[in-house]
Symmetry: D2
Subunit: 436 residues, 4 copies
């Protein structure tokens, strides 16, 4: 029985900040109402298959350390079955409502299109059953278009149309499975949709192929009646030198170019934000301002290392700033917090998977509580609002009615000589810290 | 007489690769025809006022080292006059066709709107005269909306509408001056159009103000009959923590958002590209693919330092890759190569200004010659083209006619099992090196 | 009277976490005893002259925004006097025990060696008097060997021996002044002791000159009977491309090379650590392990920006990790926490200087309280200690007595096949967060 | 027969710059004498086993793409034998004198100490035979102490003494094998000798264990009469968050701390230099100045990506600066240029391995020719030398005889007022470019 794997771990429950139990929630109290909504409904936590159940603990310099039972032989039907069972045991013991997967995460290995389709279908049947018995739901599904050697040069941006077609098959099936499983969203992360060198790359052609692919996905979504959200996940690079979905602003331009800005939103990952030269909260605020905020991949990077470390979030301070943007954006519609995070390669025990997620969940929960307190306090929003007050006064309104020449004439006529006023950054930072 | 300043420096002439003269061009032969065009017409070199005539050699940790005569007292009418005279002596001795300026670079300091207008007008009169006598032309003009303390929180994105109006006055005047002086382009670099902290920033409001400002500039351009190109210069950060015009892809999205993608192009700076996590050639290729390639600020950064070092380009290898993209984009229309580059703070001699520009100009010229040779050779373009050949064959064409489901069905019916083919990156890199 | 400048600001007092007063300490309770020592004695806070009283709010892209009264004219004797008075008013109102300065920060501008000596002497007389009336003490003094144009190519590493001699004069006088003022340390930050390009640099010669300079400073310290600590402040680059005192490990090697490892310690700056690819706590732990931990320059950088932003520390989480290393190192001997931090260029109000320092002081105080709680709790130290327990057992001890061949033979004889045990990183991170 | 693998590839020969043969050397003419030495003797090229014969083309996001015959089953005795045969075919066809290996690269997989020893011994016998028939020599050997899960927490710095002992066994055997095979050097790269989090790490204890390990290696080298050089290879991070051998200056301090600075040198890798915030030439110049320059791992990184890309060097410009430092250091003694470089994951053809190495070898050869020309020209060395001329004059010499007070008095007595002279960086950069 696969559920032997976590036999020693109890279901994780809320016990409050003073609990000495290291396998309990101290801040995530799912039924607590914050700003009119239960925490569970605010945060919509999901755990993922790939890092937690598929990755063996390998890295570029060494092999797998984890020694999970389902990794000891080939990834055949029995191993895939055991993995799915164990995963749902995990989701249930964490007591979080959602999970996420790539097609290949949940199925036995396949050598052909037909094997892919039949193995995946078998997996989806099982997932549906597991959802039923466990009460867990699907936050989003996706297709893995980057791990198999056929995708070495991309999928929707591959120079080879056969690869493009193979990818279309996987996405069609994964989208339909997501629909059938009641998924709230469908994600596309452009793993190798980018380039290694411009010297062999036709940038315009690849982007056009990618745009058309995305448009077809949107069309298919409507055709099958899927009412979840299609999400693009930005990342600047890795594995490719340059990834077309560099960051939120880039994705927005891409969507506008192909007329998809009302159809597709972004799934923002903290570690991808920092790799791209942004803070996590920047990407959230930008997505919100551009009207494409969708969902979140919760993790953190290492500020001294230049690759995707996918560590569990553990800074309540940083999460407070992020949650502030989430709340300002009105919170999630279909989105949620998926832990695209992995335990360190040295963290080989089953319990480590729980420590990672419990810590991450509590960090996000603290962020929510802090951010809600900041909003309810109101001082920071008021300082920010007063900073722009001039735009709501006579001059600001008048400027809204004039053209460039008119405004320039006004500046001259009024002999404007604006003095700089303090931006009060240090004061505001202190105020934020009052809530951390 | 200001022209004493460069009295010891001869006019720079082409003398060929074997010349031992360190103040001669070895590769820039302005009348040499490359791919059907004179080098001068291909490259359209400009030198700039700010780094070369305004900056005193200061940095954050120390004062000016340069001791130029026009910096010894206040920047009054006489000093500004001397600076302009000296600059045109310089442009002429370099024998390049163009120059660039910010309003405040060329004028005496002003304390009010009216002083700004009158001092600037006086400067423009003089520039017009100097253009006439020297035969030099204006590649682009711009307004400095970031140095004066009033712009500490931005100009078009300032929270204070008075600042916005002051900026409108400067831009109106600078745009009209550019028109009068026959400028080929007008540039907006968003120096402080960004934020220091999200905590005091209304991102959406600032971007909307910025979008409207830009739309008004475009409208004014048409109103006055200026037929040059309006250019935005991307930069990811510095001086601000985050700059709205992060990179070319971001600017494209911004233009699309405000309906300006057919009105505005980008002025791409090499050092800004690398600060943003891109190669210089990436930004050029992206601008070309998106249809917004305008002009270039030639310089280089330091790969180990995280700020804008604005050094002169000195890598013919890197410039070859950049020029390849310029040639593929069809070359410049209104744009050109402006040296937004400065001699090092230790390079205090007048001759150093010439060494910097002569080296930079020859580097760009070598890049052009190498890139033209690559294109004329044809092998690299052929390898690239063959890589995508499948898209021009039956399968590729058929995919163009099907929807997602149709393509997926095709993959199944044909039992596609694509094998990865070599991307030949090492071979192509060797081929490129044959031309460097 | 200069003390008009902060007339509106009260002396900052401890009022506890629940205080609503934004100009009070919520965590820094100077007389509170933590692990057997008063907080004031643990933390030994200092404020600095340069960022707070000398910098006008300029940056590379724009002029000063601050408009301080003593900056309105030349930096003559009267202005310098007013600056010193105002600074001591500030130190006193912050109620912190220490301050720090560079020679040129506190004196009127000088045009020659003799002026430098007389202006500086005048300033030192005044500082001594101000110390007496205010009860404030000197944490450290230093000489500015990087701002004047004469130091453009370095001071102790200058190619010009005249510059070296000028620097020796400044350091001799600054060291003697520090001694006279009862300073606890003397600092050398190698502002331009590095290079811009290897092409014009004799690395070995410059390092030898630098080593000898430092040895002479140590010799002079002993000669005059100064019993404070000589400190080197590591920084990887900026303003120079490469700075010889790159990081703590580099400085250690440098000290060993010139036989100074028992004479000189490091002054570790948080922002310099991160610019060098390290965490702040790494540099502290490394300095402690190498026996050269001296003092701290408290600030923070911006993880997305590649230059020294010198912001006030505001992360209690990060400071907790740093304070853990400080406590493990046994705390300060002569060192202390100097705020080498500056308000943002937009923070133009006098009050902003207080917000910055109050927030920074409370952040450090929280870090101390959290770190002390972690140590008193003991769990984390125990986990760490158990991880190495094998080294205290038979095998570990035996290894200590064998040579390479002996150990290899042992591995074979015992047929060792070690299994990896969990490093428990996620669990430990959760434990740390219990104290934040 | 394994030599079927490269059957289509001819032995690579020098054909000169004008050759159209893409599989010929255009610059590497092994018998050409440069500055009194044959190019082969200057450059001492080696190819490596790991990237070229062991790595299957996998990365963190996807599986192997290369499909080499010896990877199709288990890495047993037959596969290892075929790999060794193929590798020597490759070294021979490249016509380079040297190769390099880790123990596990060349042997069948082992499950125990005794298997490790016997499988490795078998491999060494074969290598010895292959050296004899091919005439290829061993530049250096090393032990892989980072890939097996047992080394997840380090080897010489492991918290587990069993792991330390296992590592000692591997190093003892690899060192003795290197000696037997006539290797010129023995390398230690501290793959996981670092930490993931300070929270579970005893920095001082780990460094002391590491220091003792290295001392034992040196002792064993003398014991067995190995007269090659022991080399440490610096790298700042990856796979660990922080690696103890961060860079050359750090390694120097480490060697000094454990009294090994006259016993151990550094093996400098270009990509590790740039990951550590340095140029390649910086690390070479630093190693030379500190007297620990040993050997080179030739490759390049990607300036926009923050991980070790290990690409083949392809910039003759950058290599010229590096070779300048190598020549200034007097060239190699035991060291050489080992290609620690891998073809891209998309470069799946056997020919790609040749394109990569041929391009890299020619790049290094061009660097040598350019650097030798610069030195023979003499101008740059002269400019540099003149820059320091003051130190050879009266003042410079006098300073050498005085103490700090004496120099300070001199500055005052002579009323020194040094003026900054130009560092001529732009002029020198132009001169360098004359030779590229």
């Amino acid at each position: 029985m696969s559920n032997q794997f976590f036999a020693d771990i109890p279901t994780i429950r809320y016990e409050g900040p003073d609990s000495h139990n290291e396998l309990a929630y101290r801040f995530y109290d799912k039924d607590r109402v914050v700003m009119g909504k239960r925490m569970e409904d605010h945060l919509r936590f999901a755990a993922c298959f790939w890092h937690t159940f598929c990755w063996p603990g390998s890295d570029v310099f060494g092999g797998g350390t984890f020694n999970r039972p389902w990794h000891r032989g080939a990834n055949d039907a029995a191993a895939a079955h055991e993995k799915r069972e164990t995963a749902f045991e995990f989701f249930t013991k964490l007591d979080i409502p959602f999970y996420c997967f790539h097609d290949v995460d949940v199925m036995a290995d396949a050598q052909s299109v037909s094997e892919h389709r039949s193995h995946f279908a078998e997996a989806v049947d099982h997932l549906e059953a597991l959802q039923g018995t466990s009460g867990r739901r699907l936050l989003w599904g996706t297709a893995n278009l980057f791990s198999h050697p056929r995708f070495a040069a991309g999928a929707a941006t591959s120079p080879d149309p056969e690869v493009y077609a193979f990818a279309a098959m996987q996405v069609r099936d994964a989208l339909e499975a997501t629909h059938r499983l009641g998924g709230a969203n469908y994600v596309l992360w452009g793993g190798r949709e980018g380039y290694e060198t411009l010297a062999n790359t036709n940038l315009g052609r690849e982007m056009d192929n990618f745009g058309r692919f995305l448009a077809m996905v949107v069309e298919h979504k409507h055709k099958i009646g899927f009412d979840g959200t299609i999400l693009i996940e930005p990342k600047p690079h890795e594995p490719t030198k340059h990834q077309y979905d560099f960051d939120t602003a880039t994705v927005y331009g891409f969507l506008k170019r192909y007329g998809l800005e009302n159809e597709v939103c972004v799934n923002i990952e903290a570690n991808h934000a920092t790799l791209g030269g942004h803070t996590f909260e920047h990407e959230l605020a930008m997505a919100s301002a551009l009207g494409i905020f969708g969902s979140i991949d919760a993790n953190r990077g290492d500020h001294q290392n230049g690759w995707d470390t996918d560590q569990f979030p553990n800074s309540a301070e940083e999460m407070t700033l992020a949650m502030l943007e989430v709340l300002r954006a009105g919170g999630f519609t279909n989105g949620g917090f998926n832990f695209d995070a992995k335990v360190r390669r040295q963290s080989v025990d089953a319990a480590d998977l729980f420590y990672g997620h419990v810590g991450g969940i509590d960090t996000v929960a603290r962020g929510l509580l802090n951010a809600a307190a900041i909003i309810e306090d109101g001082r920071i929003d008021q300082i920010r609002s007063e900073r722009y007050a001039g735009w709501d006064n006579d001059l600001g309104k008048k400027i809204g009615t004039l053209d460039l020449g008119g405004i320039a004439d006004l500046a001259e006529k009024e002999a404007l000589n604006p003095k700089h006023r303090s931006g009060q950054q240090e004061r505001i930072e202190n105020l934020v810290n009052r809530f951390c």
